[in-house]
């Protein structure tokens, strides 16, 4: 007679415990801190909604959230547009160097994001490579401060996160039978029509997955926005860091983090639903 806990419960017990201990519990503490008052940088036991009221009534923080989500959407779209052709080429290529090409396209993941971001810092700063080239070509008359700016953050993150989009789309493209393309073309569809009416719809779950993955990492990214945006071009992660670490105001930092998590979950849920529906069509 079999008795005791079902095997699938045992399988998920360990990851569930880890998630509970290192994700749910800290987030529960964060949530509770967001409803407590801070006085002179000290957390008190007095419950309050002031932290949320403060954040929702200051234009600065509305801007921070708008910038965060604009960065996430822009980076997601750029990486899908750049990643799809690359993934398509890597999947369909019959070159004997295919393995090497895949490794090369994913190589940026091997370097620290800080190192990659400083590469952009060297290129984009007022006395950097981009300004030197544009000045020498006579395109600009005086140096342009490309950074700190939201644009610089988008460029840096789009570069850093491109491999995630490529990997996800490649997974989806690998599942598309190439014979379907041949069949479509044998029935009279040209390459463009085959691509948009056969390949793309079948890859939608991968595209949606790639977008969601890149978007999620981009809206919570800290290092790249901190380096390319500086203290005056804040996104949610740098603002949270500023509250908790620099200003030692845990209540406002926690409230900002809770808003970010809730907004992200809602957007991700909407994107996942949309992706699933389009894929089912």
């Amino acid at each position: 007679m079999r008795s005791g806990v079902p095997a699938h419960w045992l399988l998920i017990a360990l990851p569930a415990t880890v998630l509970l201990a290192f994700f749910v519990l800290p987030n529960a503490l964060l949530l509770s801190a967001s409803f407590l008052k801070s006085e002179a940088q000290q957390l008190t036991a007095e419950p309050t909604l002031d932290n949320y009221r403060f954040l929702f009534t200051r234009p600065l923080y509305l801007e921070v959230f708008l910038r965060t989500f604009a960065v996430g959407i822009a980076v997601g779209l750029i990486d899908i547009v750049l990643g799809f052709p690359l993934a398509y080429f890597l999947v369909r290529s019959r070159s004997r160097f295919k393995g090497l090409l895949i490794a090369l396209s994913l190589a940026p993941l091997l370097a620290s994001v800080v190192v990659r971001t400083y590469g952009w810092y060297i290129i984009l700063n007022r006395f950097g490579f981009a300004n030197d080239v544009l000045l020498n070509l006579g395109v600009i008359g005086e140096r342009i401060p490309f950074m700190p700016s939201t644009g610089a953050i988008i460029i840096g993150l789009a570069h850093a996160l491109l491999p995630y989009a490529v990997l996800t789309i490649m997974g989806s493209l690998n599942g598309v039978n190439p014979n379907l393309e041949s069949a479509a073309m044998s029935l009279g569809a040209n390459r463009t029509r085959t691509f948009f009416h056969v390949v793309m719809p079948l890859c939608l779950p991968g595209i949606a997955g790639g977008f969601i993955l890149v978007f999620s990492i981009a809206i919570s990214a800290y290092a790249t926005p901190a380096i390319l945006g500086g203290p005056a071009t804040q996104v949610a992660a740098t603002a949270i860091y500023n509250f908790i670490i620099q200003l030692l105001d845990w209540s406002l930092g926690a409230a900002l983090a809770v808003i970010l998590i809730v907004c992200s979950l809602l957007l991700l849920y909407a994107a996942a639903r949309l992706g699933a529906r389009r894929a089912a069509l």
């Binding site: 002179a40 940088q41 600065l60 700063n125 203290p231 005056a232 071009t233 670490i245 200003l247 105001d249």
Partner: protein, 364 residues
Amino acid sequence: MNGDHTTDNELSRRAFLQRASAAAVLGLGVRDVWGQRTDDLVVNSFGGEYQELFEKAVIQPFEKKFGVKVIHDTTGTSSQDYAKIRASKGAPGFDVAAALSPPEVILGAKEGLLEKITEAEVPNIKFTWDKARKALPPVAVMHTLQFDSLLYNKDKLDKPVSWADYWQPDKRYGAKVKGHVINYNPANLLSVYALIHAAELGGGGASNMEPAWALLKSQKPWVGVVVTTSAEAAPHFESGEVWISPYWSARAGYYISRGIPYGMVVPKEGVIANIDSASVPIGAKNKKLAYEFINFMLEPATQRAWCQAYFCSPGRGDITDWPKAFVESQIVTTQQFESVKLPDLDAIGVNRKDWTLRWQEVMG
């Protein structure tokens, strides 16, 4: 049987040595990966140029004298270090917080996360500046002093004489200075002090910062670089991008000594002093050694070596044999220290968050 004349169940000498070596390497590896031994003293301070100088002038002589190993944790600014102390409820993994600034020390005393330090633990505390002892809660020991000076590029600008030359650079230097002014986030105490100077220029002060915000708005179009930490500003001096900046006197002195074409001035309105202090978190593992380390930082020989290496003023006033050049640029006598303006630490502690938010609204 095999060639070594052992059965399958027996261990050959070669196999034994291989396994023993692997175990030893693994053991050493684990220890190295794990890093710290329980008897090591962990001292937290700053990285960058500070690290090398501090290790040479303070840490290495301490290790030699006491025969112990010091692990130098160079991560974080003062507020980041205190954030670690707070998040760990006083057990941040370091035994000495050697670079806390007064706002963090005051908060640490209020939150009960720093040990009280008296003459019993640190005998040299009695030699520290009397005025500094009164300004700090008894959980920190002042070891050095800096002030907020004005740093300027001698190749590009005439010598500034007033804080107004920084806050209204266009009035003094004209259009050429556009994009070559730096501004700091008030998460850095340097920015707070500079804003207080701005408020004072307009007739205000720490209790009325409105003139500072007006000056910040008028300065913004001329600002080319915005950073948080003082270390982040250094590459902009080296590249020649920034021509005028408030800067800690010690770091300014250090960079000038390295040959960058910059000069440091004390503006006519005066400067505000920053007390560098050391504390022991309540959960520190090696408290006895931590107190010894703080005491050692105040020894005359250590003070001489460290202050001359880092261009900062000493934490005690009874050392008299300073070189002439050092005396001319630093605060070494009680009379000099009495004339130093210490900041209104309570006002800074209470208002710093609001000032930072206001700064962000202007600069964002």
